[in-house]
Symmetry: C2
Subunit: 218 residues, 2 copies
DNA sequence: CATTATTCGATATCATTATATCGATATGAT
DNA sequence: ATCATATCGATATAATGATATCGAATAATG
């Protein structure tokens, strides 16, 4: 007799990226009092295929969908939030308190995504010592030491590209496990460290390519 | 007799995303006076395979690489910049002058990527009428009209998620061809309009998934 | 001037991701 | 109760993207 547990359904990288979109929409539906939702209706909203939606859901959901009706909105929300780690909060530090750094510090929404920026760093002695959006800013020399002592798993890099690799090395020296990199450079890191690049130049590349209409689809 | 022109080599979406990284590195090399570069050396730097680098290069380059030596740095830079449209400048408007909007307006680096933000919009009557980083801010009601009159191809959305679809519709009504969306929502648009999402929640999802070590590679 | 080592380009294979097909099951209508 | 229909899950196929293989080219070396 076969056992059907969730572990068979693997969650691909692409699927993970779609989760926040599903989640946002499901929460909106829940807010409107909708309790059951079908894969085809979700697919219609996002312009996905219903098969893809069904697969994505089955990869994260602990319960099955019901033929002819669909999935329970609340359960989907709960399951996705669990999978994405929104129920536990990860602490992060941010390095580089320029315009972008300040914007990220001021964006309180991250806590909904399980991320809390607890400390920031900046090279400028003026900025270091100040407090931005309730977060203390320290001098960059203290990165490694503080990260290690506070056992911080995530580092956010919002420094100019020339400083990015140095900062990255300091974060890793401080024991950080994952790096969210907003500098438009490639960072060299050891195997076990994840670098998540938020490279706007890359997005822009797709944009302008589209405007030239020579692109090959996605 | 077969003709070998560049048109055979198609440029995939993923390859386009890699271009800004190559470009950044190639420019650094050029700054150091390096004139020739090989695929294996580039691959080593990025932790890519040399085959991938070679394929990417051959998809954009007008000239061929030379066995035993490599590619001409200058030519690669020129070809990539052309492909990515950095030589011509696209005008854009930005809607939503909050923290993030201000950060983007202040970031002058976009002009290197062929993007120039010429006008901004905001709902708040205080903000509208002001000037941020040299860019005039107008009231949101004027979006469609101004975009159409100035023939703007790109709209940047940095408003809260509740307002994003409305703004999106206004931009499209104004004739915008591509949208760079920083709001964490799916936008519904006609077929011919490109939406490039810059969803930090999606990146965060991958980050925290990695921290749980349950992820399935990339 | 022949030999060797390195890189190139083209074609082939493999991996990942997305879509299509189809039988099974639940809901609502007759 | 039976039938029609919408949706489900599972398996199969297709598309996209990454990697491996291999002969050809060229620069450096003896």
């Amino acid at each position: 007799m076969e056992e059907h547990n969730r572990e068979n359904h693997i969650l691909s990288t692409q699927a993970i990226k779609r989760m926040p979109y599903y989640l946002q929409y499901l929460k909106k539906l829940a807010g409107e009092g909708i309790e059951i939702v079908s894969a085809p209706s979700i697919a219609a909203h996002f312009n996905f295929t219903e098969i893809q939606v069904r697969k994505d859901f089955s990869a994260v959901s602990t319960t099955k969908g019901k033929p002819k009706s669909g999935f329970t909105v609340k359960e989907l929300i709960y399951d996705m939030e669990s999978i994405l780690g929104y129920h536990s909060v990860n602490q992060a530090v941010l390095v580089g308190v320029g315009q972008l750094g300040r914007a990220l510090l001021s964006y309180r929404g991250f806590e909904n995504y399980g991320l809390k920026i607890v400390v920031a760093f900046d090279q400028d002695p003026e900025t270091a010592g100040s407090k931005i959006a309730g977060v203390n800013v320290f001098a960059s020399e203290k990165i490694s030491d503080l990260c290690r002592r506070m056992n911080i798993p995530i580092g956010i890099i919002t420094v100019p590209e020339t400083a990015a690799q140095t900062v990255c090395d300091q974060l890793i020296a401080g024991g950080v496990k994952a790096i969210w990199n907003f500098a438009p450079v490639h960072l060299s890191v050891p195997q076990n460290i994840l670098v998540q690049n938020e490279n706007m130049a890359a997005s822009l590349a797709l944009l302008s390519k589209h405007l030239e209409e020579k692109i090959v689809s996605e």
